[in-house]
């Protein structure tokens, strides 16, 4: 088991190096030099060249890469041009909002798709199954931002039920339970938008994994032993469909973080996604690269974690190579 963990963790190293090279390349491609907008326009080119030399801007590329890598490894991602603050601090300030949003969306989509997937997987040929599978096709075909706008129009401007922007009501300064309630009201729309596409995907995946399991010999044997439907489903089917579920969830989390960009922008949700969109609009490349690097490393970590969990659930995995 430990050997598997170590071996799996080692395969992540070249990927990590690849990610850092790619981000560094992008940093290098960005137009302008680091002093654009920072120094007075009457600085002579000689003075500027001297300053650039002093911070190592004119060093060979690989020296710059190693230095950048060393800083990034210590959590130093440079300074944002727009905010004048360290990038890692800005990410830290916004991170909890994105985690809250993506977490609620994930919880919501699991709460809906688990029972649905199980139900439709067990009754593959029913009318409900056919309708649900068509519905999930429709749901994955709707661009999330269009869905968001339709929901805003219906729930916020037509029926005036839910707020559409921000995390809290501005100027109300709720505390305690009232604050939690306020945040909950604000999170309903963006979390639903993020969850809806996910529900369609998760449901489809679970359905196919459950309906494949049903055909397996061990399930037939369990039924033949005279076990009740419930006694087969709960310990056997659920445990076996947990494996693909880990895969899907681990793949959906990066998807959620990425899709949060559009959703957060539309709902004015102050998370990482909106921060990166603001960074693009303000041509704030250090901030943008910092966020990209951060999200890529998080994704890598989640993939690693999923593989480890996989080995816990399914002992066969540990023996592969």
């Amino acid at each position: 088991m430990l050997l598997y963990f170590i071996r799996r963790a080692l395969t992540a190293v070249p990927v990590l190096v690849g990610i850092s090279l790619a981000v560094f390349l992008l940093v290098h491609l960005q137009p302008g030099d680091p002093f654009v907008g920072m120094i007075s326009p009457d600085t002579t080119p000689e003075e500027k060249a001297e300053m650039l030399r002093r911070i190592g801007y004119l060093d060979p590329v690989w020296v710059q890469y190693l230095r950048w890598l060393g800083r990034a490894a210590r959590g130093d991602l440079g300074y944002s041009i727009q905010h004048g603050t360290a990038v890692q601090v800005l990410i830290g300030e916004r991170l909890h909002n994105t985690v809250l949003l993506a977490g609620s969306a994930l919880a919501l989509s699991l709460a809906v798709s688990l029972p649905l997937g199980l139900y439709t997987g067990l009754r593959r040929t029913g009318v409900a199954d056919m309708m649900l599978s068509n519905l999930s096709f429709v749901l994955v075909s709707i661009p999330a931002f269009f869905l968001a706008m339709v929901l805003i129009k219906l729930f916020a401007t037509e029926w005036r039920l839910l707020p559409t922007s921000g995390v809290v009501t501005v100027g109300m300064n709720y505390t305690g339970l009232a604050h939690i309630g306020d945040v909950a009201r604000h999170i309903v729309l963006p979390a639903s938008v993020l969850a809806i596409t996910n529900i369609a995907i998760l449901n489809r995946y679970l359905r196919s994994s459950v309906s494949d399991l049903i055909d397996h010999d061990f399930v037939r044997a369990l039924f033949a032993k005279g076990l009740s439907r419930r006694a087969v489903i709960v310990p056997h089917l659920l445990r076996n469909s947990a494996k693909p579920l880990i895969t899907v969830v681990s793949l959906e989390i990066p998807g959620l973080l990425s899709a949060a960009l559009l959703t957060e922008t539309i709902f004015n949700w102050p998370g990482i996604g909106r921060l990166s969109f603001e960074a693009v609009q303000g041509r704030d490349y250090p901030l943008l690269m910092g966020i990209v690097l951060f999200l890529a490393v998080v994704t890598l970590a989640i993939n690693l974690l999923a593989d480890l969990l996989y080995a816990v659930v399914d002992p066969r995995v540990r023996l592969v190579r």
């Binding site: 799996r8 070249p14 990927v15 690849g18 990610i19 790619a22 992008l26 491609l29 960005q30 137009p31 096709f137 429709v138 994955v140 075909s141 709707i142 661009p143 999330a144 931002f145 269009f146 706008m149 339709v150 805003i152 129009k153 401007t157 995907i201 489809r204 995946y205 196919s208 994994s209 494949d212 399991l213 469909s241 494996k243 693909p244 895969t247 899907v248 793949l251 959906e252 990066p254 998807g255 990425s258 899709a259 960009l261 559009l262 990166s276 969109f277 693009v280 041509r283 490349y285 943008l288 966020i291 990209v292 999200l295 890529a296 994704t299 993939n303 996989y310 995995v317 592969v320 190579r321």
Partner: protein
């Protein structure tokens, strides 16, 4: 069949845009600014008096162009690299797989808007960005197919007869794997259309005055348009949904038709297909876009 017919109609509309559209996409009607539907303008006009229906039809051309070209870029990169990895194995395989893992680690929108900001927003850049970031799934798929096919007797026979590796890959291996590739390519068109719409919506894809469904939708970022001028944003949104849905249905029927197991779509990999992390990401359908 329904999906295919809808798709055919939409593509025909887009291709025949100059003959069908009542106005040019950038023609300004100063007497009808923000006019509601009816009265000469089937779907009303936008904030500078351009006919929404005409822009919608011309916008369809952008969607078709981006969807198909981005899918072609993905097929080109994905099949080539996947074939090299699957056929050669060893070091080339390891390199290609690490490369796909690196690309898959980047969140699509964050990296796409970064690239769009650096290289500039235009139709061709959007195609290249989507194509360059989304070939990974296909490469893994082709690799997995080739890995199992290359052990078969007919490949050994071909090799023994001295057929060149390129010919083996094209004539023997890819030809046997065309089913999943075709299905994947179909879904890639749908996903590319969604990605283009999202990037254009953010102002980092197709630029005004050229109409695209995504940049038409960005009009609804203003609360006034969203609340009172439905004809500016509901039609392009509905067009995207219709087009993507039609393509997804076509992909689904293709998948059923080409599947070795009758009635079961090829892309639903069973639980045992997921035993180790190498095959883990081969699942086709949910390449998540927006």
């Amino acid at each position: 069949m329904v999906g295919f017919s809808i798709l055919l109609v939409l593509v025909a509309l887009a291709l025949a845009a100059p003959w069908i559209a009542p106005f040019a996409p950038d023609e300004v009607d100063l007497f009808a600014i923000e006019a509601p539907p009816g009265d000469g303008h089937l779907l009303g006009t936008d904030e500078i008096g351009r006919d929404v229906f005409s822009r919608l039809i011309y916008g369809g051309r952008v969607s078709v162009l981006v969807g198909v070209s981005a899918a072609l870029v993905q097929i080109l990169i994905g099949t080539t690299l996947g074939a090299i990895a699957g056929y050669r194995g060893g070091l080339s395989d390891a390199l290609v797989m690490r490369l796909t893992e690196v690309i898959m680690c980047f969140p699509f929108y964050a990296i796409a808007i970064t690239l769009a900001a650096i290289f500039g927003a235009s139709v061709w850049n959007v195609i290249l960005i989507i194509g360059a970031l989304h070939w990974t799934g296909l490469a893994r798929l082709v690799r997995a197919e080739l890995l199992s096919l290359r052990e078969r007797g007919f490949v050994l026979a071909a090799r023994a007869m001295g057929v060149s590796p390129i010919k083996i890959i094209f004539n023997h291996l890819l030809r046997n794997a065309y089913g999943p590739i075709l299905v994947y390519a179909t879904l890639a068109v749908a996903n590319s259309i969604l990605a283009e719409a999202a990037l254009s919506f953010l102002g980092l894809g197709v630029r005004q005055p050229q109409p695209s469904w995504g940049n038409m939708l960005s009009a609804a970022q203003s609360m006034r348009v969203l609340t009172y001028q439905w004809w500016l944003w509901i039609p392009p949104g509905a067009a995207i949904v219709l087009m993507v849905l039609a393509i997804n249905f076509v992909g689904e029927s293709l998948s059923r038709a080409l599947s070795p197991r009758p009635g079961a779509p090829i892309r639903d990999l069973g639980p045992d297909a997921n035993v180790n992390s190498q095959t883990r990401k081969e699942r086709l359908w949910p390449t998540r876009f927006s």
